[in-house]
């Protein structure tokens, strides 16, 4: 261990910035060095990926039918 190493506690706060490629090169290198030796953080990162993917699959199928009809009527009346 040296002073430049990153703790798990720090890493978990940088996952979104890491995904967005928004870290400076030095910090990014510290994250990647840490990930190579830490199963826990690799799992955490993967959990985060699954979370983002799951959020991306949210579809809101149940729009209130009354409200929907109101909007369609507005369209009909205008056209």
């Amino acid at each position: 261990m040296n002073d430049d190493s990153m703790t798990c506690k720090e890493l978990v706060e940088l996952v979104t910035a890491y995904f967005e490629d928004a870290l400076d090169p030095h910090t990014r290198a510290r994250v990647e060095t840490h990930l190579k030796k830490c199963d826990g953080c690799r799992n955490y990162l993967e959990q985060f990926r699954v979370t983002v993917r799951t959020l991306g699959r949210i579809r809101d199928e149940h729009l209130d039918p009354g409200f929907r009809e109101k909007l369609l009527t507005a369209f009909r009346d205008w056209g």
Partner: protein
């Protein structure tokens, strides 16, 4: 990424005669037209909310022709997310519905003048947020103050080693925790359950986090677009996104039975 996409999108304000004649409120008269000079990156994601721009001119032509099926499809696709974002600005679901209705009416009235210089959904959300802000009567702290109030991390500090332990700040027992999520192939029952769990947690998030997560992860807007719409810095946008995602991660972890 094309360098132009990295820059803040230029916003042009175009008060149009049509809107003045129609007596639209000031917020709608000033239509922000976002100039996007290149194809929009979410075109290639079919079957998601992100796939509207490829056939956008055809879609706008259909709306101008009064094609109700096309309008209904757009309403079904965007209204729930619009309600979710609007709710962050106004004190009740009823007012959020009014805001969203007003936005659709602005689109209906403005469609003949609509220029394909911004994607339709960017237009929808930008106009909707403008209207919502006009109606937002709830007292709000500034976003900066809200974010400054986040003093703790997004993971329970008890899961990390204390300052007097060996390797302070690392996982207490990294062999046991965090554990990988089990495989959940798309279309499986478990995957569908996870989506439902994520949705429920999304609705419980604080307003700003919910808005940012919805715009970024559900609708797939770029961070620069979200910053512009919500009038927040890129750093604050990221903080809100990260906190929202972290909260959802935690409930998924518990649901999957791999929590601490």
């Amino acid at each position: 990424m094309h360098p132009a996409r990295m820059l803040p999108l230029p916003v042009e304000f175009r008060p149009t005669a049509t809107f003045v004649r129609d007596g639209m409120r000031a917020a709608v008269m000033i239509l922000p037209i976002l100039s996007i000079a290149e194809p929009i990156p979410w075109v290639s994601m079919p079957g998601t909310l992100r796939g509207e721009s490829a056939d956008e001119s055809a879609l706008i032509a259909s709306l101008r022709d009064g094609d109700e099926t096309v309008f209904a499809r757009l309403v079904d696709r965007y209204t729930p997310a619009m309600l979710r974002v609007a709710r962050g600005y106004v004190p009740s679901h009823e007012i959020a519905e009014e805001v969203v209705q007003e936005t659709w009416i602005a689109l209906i009235k403005g469609i003949s003048k609509f220029e394909c210089r911004s994607s339709l959904r960017t237009w929808l959300f930008t106009v909707m947020i403008n209207i919502a802000k006009q109606r937002g009567v709830r007292e709000r702290r500034s976003v900066d103050a809200e974010i400054a109030a986040f003093t703790c991390g997004t993971v329970d500090p008890a899961l990390f080693r204390g300052p007097n332990e060996e390797w302070p700040g690392d996982w207490k027992n990294w062999k046991e925790y965090p554990r990988a999520f089990p495989e959940t192939p798309e279309g499986s029952v478990l995957a569908d359950e996870l989506v439902a769990v994520a949705r429920a947690e999304l609705d419980r998030l604080p307003d700003r986090q919910r808005m940012v997560v919805a715009l970024r992860d559900i609708l797939g807007f770029e961070s620069s677009e979200v910053c512009e719409m919500l009038d927040i810095s890129i750093a604050n946008q990221r903080v809100l996104l990260h906190r929202g995602r972290a909260a959802v991660r935690q409930v998924l972890e518990s649901y999957l039975g791999v929590g601490p």
